[in-house]
């Protein structure tokens, strides 16, 4: 009895999981580039620039959704300010992209156009070093990480929980948005950063660059999944879910929940920062509206739709919501928010475990039907046997399936 338990404790991703990860990885780096670059535009298997950019963007959102699931689904901490960490990562990397414009801006100056507009003569101190790709990449991880750590330390130490925590995170992202709206802040005010030209010297709109960014987005998503899976399968993950379910008990057996929450909260914010850094070059713009409260709430909806605490579910949640958003905002732009609200209500009422839960339910029902059919054929094969014992037997999987779903 001991062995299977200890085996389960060390395994993260199963062999099937690794196979799926490798397949997606190969597809992203080989098949998609081939379909985009080699096939002519009329070809049925050609992937358009529009599709690559759209999917690349959604992949970045999916990373945010998985990061959100780590703290909400497993840690029980609902953040309604995760858009801030995403935007901070985007801004950090955006600084590098702004510097890459060089003298190709409208004013032909050494500093970004918006600074010329403000009559600034040189870069402010916090822009120093931003011509380095690596420094900005580091900033994209470190800035959200440090801000999340400081915010989390004080919030968790004061034992702020539940809806109070959610409201404070909203206030945090809202305050940051107002701060970034100011022109004097030095991040382009309400226009943010845009008109990017190059990344590492390559044209940012070149198909090859797009393909690489797409591949990196897929890689980041897979990496996030593997990291998340490993965290959840470790003892750390079990303590985390224990904190979610019975924080008092965790404290009285000697764990300090503060450090556990702080760790997962910071990791989650750093992942969002990376996602933001990959998002900006693909979308070509970052502005303070990314920090709006509605954006952060949308992140929570992706996770709810996909399935909390399932890790893979939120990827589908991000995909479903954003694809329908793309369709709605072009066809009936004025109804999008109503639809989003309706979707959230329906999911909460009928799919409390999201799309991933629906999948599990379908599987359970199929198994149940198979068991029923097996019981029937068995009853038919043994005509001497009375019909009654077959009935309770077929009832059994029914009951367990209902519990599992």
């Amino acid at each position: 009895m001991r062995t299977p338990v200890s085996v389960k404790l060390v395994a993260g991703l199963g062999p099937r999981g690794w196979l799926a990860v490798s397949a997606v990885f190969v597809a992203a780096w080989v098949l998609v580039p081939l379909a985009h670059l080699m096939l002519p535009e009329g070809h049925p298997l050609h992937i358009s620039t529009y599709a690559i950019t759209l999917i690349g963007k959604i992949l970045c959102y999916a990373v945010v959704a998985v990061a959100m699931d780590l703290i909400w689904g497993f840690g029980g901490i609902l953040s309604l300010g995760h858009g801030l960490f995403f935007a901070l990562g985007g801004y950090s990397f955006g600084m590098y992209l702004m510097r890459q414009i060089g003298r190709d801006g409208s004013y032909g100056a050494d500093i970004p156009d918006f600074m010329v507009f403000l009559d600034w003569k040189e870069l402010p101190w916090y822009w120093s070093g931003t011509d380095s790709f690596l420094w900005c990449l580091l900033l994209a991880v470190a800035v959200p990480g440090v801000i999340a750590w400081i915010f989390g330390y004080f919030a968790f130490r004061s034992r702020i929980k539940g809806v109070y925590f959610s409201i404070i995170t909203q206030a945090m992202t809202y305050a940051a948005m107002l701060f970034f709206f100011r022109n004097e802040t030095g991040f382009g005010g309400n226009n943010g950063f845009t008109d990017f030209k190059r990344i590492l010297g390559y044209s940012i709109t070149a198909p090859e660059t797009r393909v690489v960014l797409f591949g990196l987005s897929v890689t980041l998503l897979l990496g996030t999944l593997i990291l998340g899976k490993a965290l959840i399968a470790s003892k750390f993950g079990r303590v985390l879910t224990a904190i979610r379910d019975a924080e008092n008990r965790v404290m009285f057996i000697g764990y300090n929940p503060l450090h556990y929450k702080l760790f997962i909260w910071t990791v989650s914010a750093m992942l969002c920062g990376l996602a933001g850094a990959l998002y900006v070059p693909q979308v070509g713009i970052i502005n303070p509206s990314e920090m709006s409260v509605a954006n952060s709430i949308e992140i929570a909806i992706w996770v709810a739709v996909g399935g909390r605490g399932t890790l893979v579910g939120p990827i589908f949640g991000a995909g479903i919501v954003n694809l329908s958003k793309t369709w709605f905002t072009t066809s009936f732009p004025e109804y999008w928010l109503f639809f989003l609200g309706l979707l959230f209500i329906l999911v909460t009422l009928y799919l409390p475990e999201g799309v991933a839960g629906l999948w599990a339910r379908i599987k359970a029902r199929r198994a149940e039907k198979a068991a029923l059919a097996a019981a029937r054929t068995e009853a038919a094969a043994v005509p001497a046997a009375p019909r009654t014992p077959a009935a309770p037997e077929s009832k059994l999987p029914n009951g367990t399936a209902a519990k599992g779903a």
């Binding site: 009895m1 001991r2 299977p4 338990v5 200890s6 404790l9 060390v10 965290l231 470790s234 003892k235 750390f236 079990r238 303590v239 879910t241 224990a242 379910d245 019975a246 008092n248 008990r249 965790v250 404290m251 009285f252 057996i253 000697g254 764990y255 300090n256 450090h259 556990y260 760790f263």
Partner: protein, 283 residues
């Protein structure tokens, strides 16, 4: 009094093994953070007062639990039993008074996890276990070990740990339930699991708030046997309403009323005390 003498007869044998006996007269070195039982006192509460919005939950409560002692605490609702446990485990800070674990550890200065590490385990009134984790995982999480984040990220279970969990599973009679989610256990089994979670922490002092609530008579009897067998090696403080259970435990009994100690002694003495009778029957 009968019980006290039986403890003092047991004490030297256990004491030599535990190293708290006889050191008081010869002088000894204090180690920071280590439990000092040189005066054979496990828990010392002195003049503890706790008020919530003017209501005195504890009113100058003084109580002393000896090393290896099994103490039962009874008292009507609102007597302050749970608040007392909150003070001992760091959940509530007293307005005034002293709370010491051994001679040196000041409980009023430590956080809940620090107190748990120092060696105090607590079972809540309502069984509190991790319902989504299996029975095995519940014990794994409670196991005495380094409980910092860094260690948890790469934690593995080794032979000793597995043996300890397996022994505890047998002791709490859940060895055939190890892989089931704890939420599916019966109420009595949940109580036992929580007791098991305390035991794998290897605490010196166990605080048990109504441990047999919702148990069958048979389960209650087995719980009493378990507690009596733990006595001597651990100190136990049991809050309970079930008088048959208190009698089966056979320890000294403290009656709390309105936040302070009303009477103390063996069960028969306490039950004969007119003040105790008045508190229980007078309302």
């Amino acid at each position: 009094m009968r019980v006290e003498s039986s403890i003092s007869r047991n004490a030297p044998a256990d004491g030599q093994k535990e190293g708290w006996d006889g050191a008081a007269n010869t002088g000894h070195v204090l180690t920071p953070g280590a439990l000092d039982l040189s005066h054979k006192v496990m828990l010392y509460l002195d003049d503890i007062t706790v008020s919530f919005d003017g209501f005195r939950a504890l009113n100058k409560l003084s109580l002393q639990i000896d090393a290896g002692e099994l103490r039962c605490i009874i008292g009507p609702n609102g007597a302050g039993k749970t608040t007392m446990m909150d003070v001992i485990t760091g959940k509530t800070r007293p307005d005034s008074g002293k709370a010491f674990f051994g001679q040196t550890i000041d409980l009023t200065r430590l956080t809940e996890p620090q107190i748990a590490h120092a060696g105090i385990g607590r079972k809540f009134q309502k069984p509190t276990i991790f319902e989504h984790h299996t029975v095995f995982e519940n014990l794994e999480l409670a196991l005495k070990t380094d409980k910092r984040v860094k260690k948890s990220l790469f934690a593995r279970l080794f032979g000793d740990d597995l043996d300890k969990i397996a022994d505890t599973l047998r002791l709490i009679r859940l060895d055939d339930q190890a892989d089931r989610p704890a939420g599916l256990l019966s109420h009595g089994q949940k109580q036992w699991l929580e007791i098991g979670m305390l035991l794998v922490q290897d605490p010196r002092l166990l605080l048990l708030d109504e441990p047999v609530a919702g148990m069958t008579d048979d389960e209650t009897e087995r719980t009493a046997e378990l507690f009596v067998s733990l006595k001597g090696k651990h100190s136990l403080v049991v809050v309970e309403h079930d008088m048959a259970f208190v009698e089966a435990l056979g320890g000294k009994v403290t009656v709390l009323c309105e936040g302070s100690v009303l009477a103390e002694g063996d069960l028969a003495t306490v039950q004969a005390d007119p003040r105790v009778i008045e508190v229980y029957l007078g309302r």
